[in-house]
Amino acid sequence: MERAANISLAAWSDARPGDRTRASAKAFAAMVVASVCLSAALASWLPLQVSIVTVFLFAGPHNWFELRYFLMRLPARFGRSRNFFAVAFAGIFLLTIAYLSLPALYYANVWSGSNWPTAIATWNTLLLLWIGTLVMLRGKQNSRRDWSWALPVVFGLCAVNWLAPELFSLAIVYAHPLVALWFLDRHLRRTRPQWLSTYRRCLLLLPLLIAGMLWQLGRTSSLADDNGLFWRITQHAGADLLPNVSSHMLVSVHVFLEMLHYAVWIIALPLIGATGAVWSVKTIPLARRRSGFPKLIAAVLIVSVFVVAMLWLGFSVNYAATRDLYFAVAIAHVLAEAPFLLRMI
């Protein structure tokens, strides 16, 4: 009797982890599918309103989580990656300054509006060359990698950019939210490999949903952008560059992708432990090492919380102006994603 009980228990103990894994993967898949479908439905139904609400609520916090994540991924000692990080930080700083100075120089009448596409094309070229340099530097860190294909790809993209600079910038606006999904993929591979195949299957839903949105909303009439805020939102989604495409469809697709981006940074990555314990600086290498800077890191995170609060206050007082300011400054986090993603590959 005793022996029979032991056999039974042994069998159960072996079965449980597998069942738990399968159950957790199913729960994860259900969460992903539900979130993606809900985001698509909301973005299609009330694109302008949902855009306003999501940017108000999540734009600031998602930047805080990204900062927290980047600090965690920053090595305590750069070692062989010194050149890589030097180029990365210099690029982030200079490209952000250049991006912010573009509208400032325009409003200061330094150049006319007719030169705007050339200015945009120049900035995009610098961005592409910077990313190309980072790819080459990263490729050199491992002798098994041959990433020299990056050069022709970068030059090819530069050529496309000079043919249609404004459309190229619009493509960046739409492609940036998808980078978060790539981050999640790399983290699942490290922390939850058993969820990876489920996640990738769920991603197949994305092109289907986007195709469905394009098909359904492509025939709808354009949104009424009769006030300054609505006009800004439709312009951000490319309504001016694609006048024959329904702005309802453009804004919906953009808002949908933005919602996924926010969901990954605020919910998915912290849930799988990619950002570490949110309030603990011990998971950040720069704070953990013996001669580290725990107080400085803590101060940076606390000040960032205040900046998020200030952003909410700004949105409450003057939503349109704060939105413009936010999307100009937010280019820094778009740029910062490139080197940290390359470090994950």
């Binding site: 596409p117 050339t118 094309a121 070229t125 041959d146 020299s148 294909w149 050069l151 022709p152 790809v153 030059f155 090819g156 530069c158 050529a159 496309v160 950019n161 000079w162 043919l163 249609a164 600079p165 001016d240 560059l241 006048p243 024959n244």
Partner: protein, 195 residues
């Protein structure tokens, strides 16, 4: 790799010097030419002979009228075709061409240097994708139907017989205050010896 970069930089310098050389050539004098019309959208037209009608009528559906309104509202510079945009900026076209040259050059260098099997597989996959895209383009173009003038070819005979004729139509905005003009494509097939 260093040699490639040096060669690339030398090529870049050479091209840049060519740009400056051409920059010294005086711009040719432009002769005033009548402004070309701009096609704002494509629709269809049916010519129906009516023995009972006393006046010619141009019937436009509400949907087409709405599209016409939207198209005329969007006749700003943002609605120009890619070719029109490029023609306005020769600098951008030159820079794009230079980057295309660099892309193709470096792709060639990479292709020649890639001796690893995996790279060759990637190249083979790329060539296959490009081939498939090309084939798809050919198929799509092949399915585009005959050119527009074919539909209008039987217009005289159909008018004589009292039959209707249907074909494609571009709505074009032209300068001036002339009446509405319908230009029907007619390919004259002259026999040898005819004037």
């Amino acid at each position: 790799m260093k040699r490639t970069v040096v060669l690339g930089a030398a090529a870049l310098l050479l091209i840049a010097s060519a740009v400056y050389t051409f920059g010294d050539i005086a711009r040719p004098k432009t002769t005033p030419t009548p402004q070309a019309g701009k096609i704002i959208f494509h629709t269809g037209l049916q010519i129906v002979p009516d023995a009972k009608a006393y006046e010619a009528r141009l019937q436009i559906s509400e949907a087409t009228l709405q599209r016409l309104r939207e198209a005329t509202a969007n006749t700003s510079s943002a609605n120009q075709s890619m070719t029109q945009r490029l023609m306005q900026s020769s600098t951008r076209t030159m820079v794009a061409g230079m980057f295309m040259f660099l892309a193709i050059s470096f792709a060639g260098v990479w292709f020649a240097r890639s001796s690893q099997r995996r790279s060759q597989k990637a190249v083979a996959a790329m060539v296959m994708v490009v081939g498939m895209l090309g084939a798809a383009t050919v198929i799509v173009r092949a399915n585009a139907g005959p050119p527009g003038y074919v539909y209008w070819q039987n217009l005289p005979q159909n008018l004589t017989k009292g039959k209707d004729t249907r074909g494609g139509l571009d709505i074009e905005i032209v300068s001036g205050d002339d009446n509405i003009k319908l230009i029907v494509p007619m390919k004259t097939t002259k026999k040898p010896g005819e004037e």
